[in-house]
C-alpha cells in the first residue's frame, strides 16, 4: 500500500513536471501521426519500423542504466516507440483487409484494436497472478478478491525499471483505448450512453485521486511511472470530450498556437527531469508498492 502522501513544494514540483511530461509526450505522439498522415502518408510504415527498432533498442539499453529515474525515463520512450509501431501495424492490417471507418467516425485501426479485448484480459490475468507485479490497482484487486495464496504484495529489489515502465506504458494505453472503443460502440453502449458518461466522470475523479497519490512520490522515477496511468486516465476525458464534439483536439486539428504551448511544456519538463536525474546519477530506489 502506498503511504499517505507527504505533500511538500518539492513533491508538487515533481508531480507537476511528470504530469506535463507524460501529457506532452502523448500530445506530441498524436500530432506526429497526424502530420505524417497529412503531408507524407507514404512514410508512415517506414516510421513504424523505425519506432519499433528504436523502442526495442532503448528498452535493451536500459539494462546499463543505474538509476531508476533514467530507466523509467527511457522506458517510457521505449514503450511509446513500441506503441507507435503497434498502432501502425493495425493501420496496415486495416488497409489490407479494407476495414472502413465507423459511422461515428472511429478509425479502422481502433476498430481492430477493440477486438483485442480478450487478449488484453488474458495478459491482465497473467499480471494479476504474477507475484513480482507491483501495480497498486492489481494489489487492490488481489486484496479485495482474495486471489493470492501468499501475501498480495511483492517485495525486493528491482534490477531494471526500464522494461517495466515500457510495458506499463503499453498496457495502460492499450487498456484505455479498448475501454473507450467499447464505450463508443453503439451496439454495446455508444458515445452518449450511460457507460460513456460514467467513464467520463469516473476518469475525471480517479485522475484527481491518482494525482493526490502521485504527490507521495518525491523523485523522478516512481513519479514518472505513476504519472503514466494518471495522465492516461485524464486522456480518456479529452478523448470523450472530442467524441462529443465539445473539444477540437489541437493535435488532430493541428492548432499550432496550442501545440506550441504543449511542446514548450514538454521541452521544459524534459530539461527539468534530465537536470534532476543528472544530479543524482546512481541512486536506486527499493519500493514495495510502485509499478
Amino acid at each position: 500500500m502506498a503511504k499517505k502522501p507527504i505533500i511538500s513544494v518539492k513533491s508538487i514540483f515533481y508531480t507537476a513536471v511528470s504530469l506535463v511530461w507524460i501529457f506532452g509526450l502523448s500530445a506530441i505522439g498524436h500530432i506526429v501521426m497526424v502530420l505524417i498522415e497529412k503531408y507524407n502518408p507514404a512514410y508512415k510504415f517506414t516510421f513504424a519500423w523505425q519506432m519499433a527498432i528504436t523502442g526495442f533498442v532503448i528498452i535493451y539499453l536500459t539494462r546499463w542504466m543505474k538509476s531508476d529515474g533514467w530507466q523509467s525515463f527511457w522506458g517510457t520512450l521505449g514503450g511509446l516507440g513500441l506503441w507507435f509501431s503497434f498502432e501502425y501495424s493495425l493501420m496496415y492490417g486495416g488497409e489490407r483487409m479494407g476495414v472502413c471507418y465507423t459511422w461515428n467516425g472511429s478509425y479502422p485501426e481502433y476498430r481492430l484494436m477493440k477486438w483485442t479485448f480478450m487478449m488484453l484480459l488474458m495478459v491482465f490475468t497473467y499480471l494479476l497472478y504474477q507475484e513480482s507485479v507491483r501495480c497498486n490497482f492489481i494489489f487492490f484487486l488481489r486484496r479485495t478478491l482474495g486471489l493470492m495464496r501468499t501475501k498480495a504484495i511483492a517485495t525486493g529489489k528491482i534490477g531494471n525499471y526500464g522494461p517495466r515502465t515500457a510495458f506499463e506504458y503499453i498496457m495502460v494505453t492499450w487498456t484505455f483505448y479498448v475501454l473507450l472503443m467499447i464505450a463508443y460502440d453503439p451496439e454495446l453502449f455508444g458515445p452518449h450512453s450511460w457507460f460513456t458518461y460514467m467513464l467520463f466522470f469516473a476518469s475525471f475523479s480517479v485522475f484527481f485521486y491518482l494525482t493526490y497519490k502521485l504527490l507521495g512520490y518525491g523523485k523522478f522515477g516512481a513519479n514518472l511511472r505513476y504519472a503514466i496511468p494518471t495522465v492516461t486516465i485524464l486522456w480518456n476525458d479529452v478523448e470523450i470530450l472530442a467524441k462529443w464534439g465539445l473539444l477540437k483536439e489541437p493535435w488532430v486539428h493541428i492548432n499550432w498556437p496550442i501545440m506550441s504551448v504543449i511542446i514548450a511544456g514538454f521541452s521544459i519538463s524534459t530539461y527539468l527531469i534530465v537536470r534532476d536525474l543528472r544530479g543524482r546519477k546512481q541512486e536506486m530506489i527499493e519500493s514495495n508498492d510502485v509499478m
Binding site: 528504436t54 488497409e95 472502413c100 471507418y101 459511422w103 458515445p191 452518449h192 464534439g245 477540437k248
Partner: protein
C-alpha cells in the same frame, strides 16, 4: 558499460538519421505539395460545380437497397431513409455492406478506384479529400471524410465517371463537398 550514452545516441541517430535528414529536406516540399494539391482540388471542384459536371446525390447502403428492404429512390431527395432505416443502414455500412451514390437525377453510381488500378481495396476504407467553403475553413471543420458516416446525407462529388454496367455507373470520387461537420448526430 560506461559508454552507454554514446552507444544509445549513435544507435538511435543511425535509425533516425536518414529519414530525419530526408524529412527536413522534404518537409517544405511535402507541405507545399499538400497546399498546392488542395488548392488545385478546390479550383477544379468549384469550376466543375459551376459547369454542372459534379454529381449531387446521397450515399445509400447497398444491401438493403438491392434486396428492397429500403427504397431511398422513392423518397424525397435528401431524405432517403427514416430514422430507423438510417440507423440500420449505417450499421450495415460499417460492416462493409457496399455503399452506392444515388444521384439527384436517379442515376446509381458505384464508387470505385481509378480506372487501371488493379489490386485495390474497398473505397469505404478511403478518406475522400473535402472541399470547404471559406466559412467552413474558418470553422475548422474536418478536411476529409469517408463514406460510412455520410450514408443518408446530401453530398456533391467530383470525379471520373465510368460507363459501368447495366445502368449502374462507376465513379472515382476525387473530392467531396457537404454542409456541416463530418460526424453529426446526437445518438451516434
Amino acid at each position: 558499460m560506461k559508454y552507454w550514452k554514446f552507444i544509445i545516441t549513435v544507435l538511435v541517430s543511425l535509425v533516425l538519421a536518414g529519414s530525419v535528414q530526408a524529412e527536413e529536406q522534404q518537409e517544405k516540399t511535402h507541405k507545399e505539395k499538400y497546399a498546392e494539391k488542395i488548392k488545385a482540388m478546390e479550383e477544379t471542384f468549384w469550376a466543375a460545380s459551376q459547369a454542372g459536371k459534379t454529381v449531387k446525390g446521397v450515399f445509400v447502403e447497398g444491401n438493403s437497397f438491392f434486396n428492397g428492404t429500403t427504397e431511398p429512390q422513392n423518397r424525397p431527395f435528401g431524405k432517403p431513409y427514416t430514422a430507423e432505416e438510417l440507423y440500420a443502414a449505417k450499421q450495415s455500412a460499417e460492416r462493409n455492406s457496399k455503399i452506392f451514390l444515388l444521384a439527384e437525377d436517379g442515376t446509381l453510381y458505384y464508387p470505385c478506384p481509378r480506372k487501371g488500378e488493379r489490386v485495390t481495396q474497398s473505397e469505404q476504407a478511403h478518406r475522400m479529400p473535402r472541399v470547404l467553403t471559406k466559412q467552413q475553413k474558418a470553422e475548422g471543420l474536418f478536411t476529409w471524410s469517408t463514406q460510412t458516416p455520410m450514408v443518408g446525407r446530401t453530398i456533391e462529388v467530383y470525379g471520373e465517371i465510368y460507363p459501368g454496367y447495366a445502368g449502374v455507373k462507376g465513379i472515382h470520387i476525387e473530392s467531396i463537398y457537404f454542409e456541416g461537420e463530418y460526424i453529426v448526430g446526437e445518438k451516434d
